[in-house]
Each structure stands twice: as C-alpha cells, then as structure tokens.
Symmetry: C2
C-alpha cells in the first residue's frame, strides 16, 4: 500500500526518484535606470536548500534564480534571471518539463513603468517613481500548467496563517509554506521556521537549520505529491 511504499522510499531517501522539480529562488531586480534597481532581502538560501534536498531525494532539479551569493548546488541545473519578467519567461519555459513547481523566489510585485536609459540626474529635490504590478509568476504558471504540483512560499510580517490559507485557495495551489519575516527574521539567516498548509491539512516545522527544514518540507511535498499521483483506493 501507499504507506509502506512511502516508508520504503523514505528509508532509501529516493522518494522523488525521476520526479522533475522546478524551483525559483532569490530576489528579482527591477531596473529604474542603468544603475539603480529595486530588490528585496531574499538571500536565496531557503530555495537553494530546497533544491539540494530535492536532489538528495532523487529528483531532477531545475533552479531559476535571481542574483544571489550562492553557488549552484551539485546536480542542479540553474539559470540566473534579472527582473520578474525575466524570471517568468525562464520559469514558463522550464515548467514544460516539470512535475513539481516550488516557488521560493521573492518576486517584485511592482516594477517601474518607465525605465530611464540614462542614469537619472539628481537635480530635483523629490522624485516620484511610478510603478505597476508585475505578472504573478506562481498564479500564471499554475493556470498554464494545472497538472503541476505547485508549492508557494509566503513571507509575511503579520497574520501568517490567515494569509497562507487565503493564498492557497486564491491561487489554486497544492501547498503553501509560510514564514514570518517580522523584524528581519528569516532573511539571510541560517535558520527558519515554516507553517506548511495544504488543502486538508497543515504542519508546523519549528525553527531549525535551513537545510534540515528544506528536507522536512520536501518530505511533506513528496508525501502529498505521491498521494495525489497514486490515490489510495479504500474499496480495492
């Protein structure tokens, strides 16, 4: 049965043998001019740890990453992207070959409407930067590839669980991993904690090293992914 199969697979750590896992990680950069850009405090550490954990479980891993100070994990195929639009394009392309999609990247929600092709001079005392919404990578990919087992991340300063459950439903995701970023928590730190939420369950993963946390998360992902792929038949 599925339980015994899971136990056997877990024991050999090859639960995701042959499964193609696509992961986005790190921040995006939205150019204001040739020199300046908008970004965020994501170090990419959590996403890279998830990529390593997936490789260790036998998955074929593709990583679409923003600029980070991290080396590509062994066995992972990586592409570096700049803006939210670049990351969407690269993810779109890679998603064609994926079974599981884990969106850990901290993607810009807004991007400048006008990008100056010369460095903006500081003549004025004030500057108004007009921005518009970027395309939502997570929602777009799930809409385009509904078969993809899709895991979102949510970094919130407040109302963690409420926001996580709402995001799961709104974007039709299979799982959400939510973490608190209040007081700079999680960003560029070696440890993190996650609230993991799916349609009919949730688990709290307490604060631990990001690599241990990534392994625990990938075991939850694998369990839910395999359960969906091979549903139990009570009456068989």
């Amino acid at each position: 049965d599925i339980v015994r199969e899971l136990e056997t697979c877990c024991a050999t750590s090859q639960l995701l043998q042959g499964v193609r896992v696509l992961i986005t990680a790190g921040p995006t950069r939205e150019a204001i001019d040739p020199v300046r850009f908008l970004t965020n405090r994501s170090s990419g550490k959590m996403g890279y740890a998830v990529a390593s954990a997936a490789v260790n479980m036998g998955a074929k891993v593709m990583l679409v990453s923003g600029h980070v100070a991290l080396d590509c994990p062994t066995g992972v195929s990586r592409v570096i992207t700049e803006s939210a639009a670049d990351m969407l394009n690269a993810t779109h392309e890679a998603a064609k070959q994926a079974d599981v999609f884990i969106a850990t990247a901290a993607v810009a929600d807004y991007t400048p409407i006008n990008v100056a092709d010369r460095k903006i001079k500081k003549n004025a005392a004030t500057l108004n930067l007009e921005m518009q919404r970027t395309t939502d990578i997570l929602a777009t990919i799930k809409q385009t590839y509904p078969h993809l087992f899709t895991v979102g991340f949510a970094a919130e300063t407040h109302d963690l669980m409420t926001y996580a459950r709402s995001k799961l439903e709104r974007k039709n995701l299979d799982m959400i991993a939510a973490n608190s970023v209040a007081d700079g928590k999680a960003f560029d730190q070696p440890t993190n904690a996650l609230e993991v939420v799916w349609k009919d369950g949730h688990t709290s993963l307490p604060e631990m090293d990001k690599h241990a946390l990534a392994t625990a998360l990938m075991q939850l992902v694998a369990a839910q992914y395999l359960q969906r792929k091979q549903p139990t038949h009570d009456h068989d």
Copy 2:
C-alpha cells in the same frame, strides 16, 4: 627634493606610511518596507581594491562599506552600513581620524519619504513611490573637514569628462576618478578604466584589472597629497 623622495618611496611601496585613509565602498540600501529596498549595481570591487592598494602603500585604512559579497581586505578596519544616512553617520565619525578621504561608494541620491513598517500588500494596480534627496556624503564631509584630501568617484553613462570636471569644482574636491558605466560597463566586472582629474591636471588610466588600476590611482593620490602637504619651493 620631492621627485627623488617620491621615487624612493615608490620603490619601497611605502609612499603612504602613517597616512590615515578613509574609503567608502559598495552600494547603499534604502528601505521601502521591511522586505523591499532600492539599491544599485555597485559590487564594491573598486573600493575594496583601493583599500588593499592603500594598505600595501603603508596607509592606515578605514573602510565604510555597504553590503557586498567581498571579504574585508587584510589590514583594513571595516564597518558595514545600510542606508545613505547610516553611511553618512559612519563616515562622519571616521573622518575625524582621517587624512585622505576616497569616496567610491555608490550612494543612493533618493530615499523613500515614507517607510512602511509592514510589508506593502499588492492590492493596487499601480504604486507611487515618493522619494526625497539624500544628504550628499562627499560634499558634506569635505565641507565639515576641509583639510581632508578628498577624492570623489563619478560613474556616468554619458559626458564623462565634462561631468567629472564640474563635480570637482562644485564640491571643492582635490581629485575625481570618473568611469563609464554605459552598457553595464564597470559594474561587477574585474576590469575598469578611469579618467583621473585634479585642479591642474588629468590622466587617463586605461582598462586594466581593478587591483592594478587601484594601485595606479593610489600612486596619483599619494603624489598629489604629498605635493600639497610638502609643496616644492622653487626658490629654495
């Protein structure tokens, strides 16, 4: 005479023995909310290379740096700063103990007027980010400590020399090192080229490794600094 003294010093590479050199380097980060910030493409490589070159010439070097992916050079005393305001404070404090000030940092010219204490939600289709001018670190430090031999950097996409000469005069600097950042040139690259301008002269340093370039620049700085400190007396 001064020429022989320079030659002797150059030969022993200890031209700046006992001289206290303060260097700013890297980008600043202007917070929009607890997660997002505005920054720029400076890697800090040029400033860190200048710090190493100054140490190698016998200087006592203090480095006020933004967040970069570089280790502190051997023999250098470093403080890491976040925003333009933080960098100004740290530089102000360090300048009290300095003889030479070299401002290589890429400091934000504008900073958001209102910093949100919660992560901004992406409810609206557009977002207007209102920003105001930051305090000019280079000009402020030179005004406060007029005795400081002060070297500015200028990264420009266009009209390099015109802008460099104008900045030298406007900010009452002793020297300007200008480089082109057109087409992403200079940023995060191992090589660079500089136009070095002072009151009564200028030199072009052609494209070379940033460490070689930093040494060539520091030799120009040392020559001008020592000449001013010990002016030649033609009639002696």
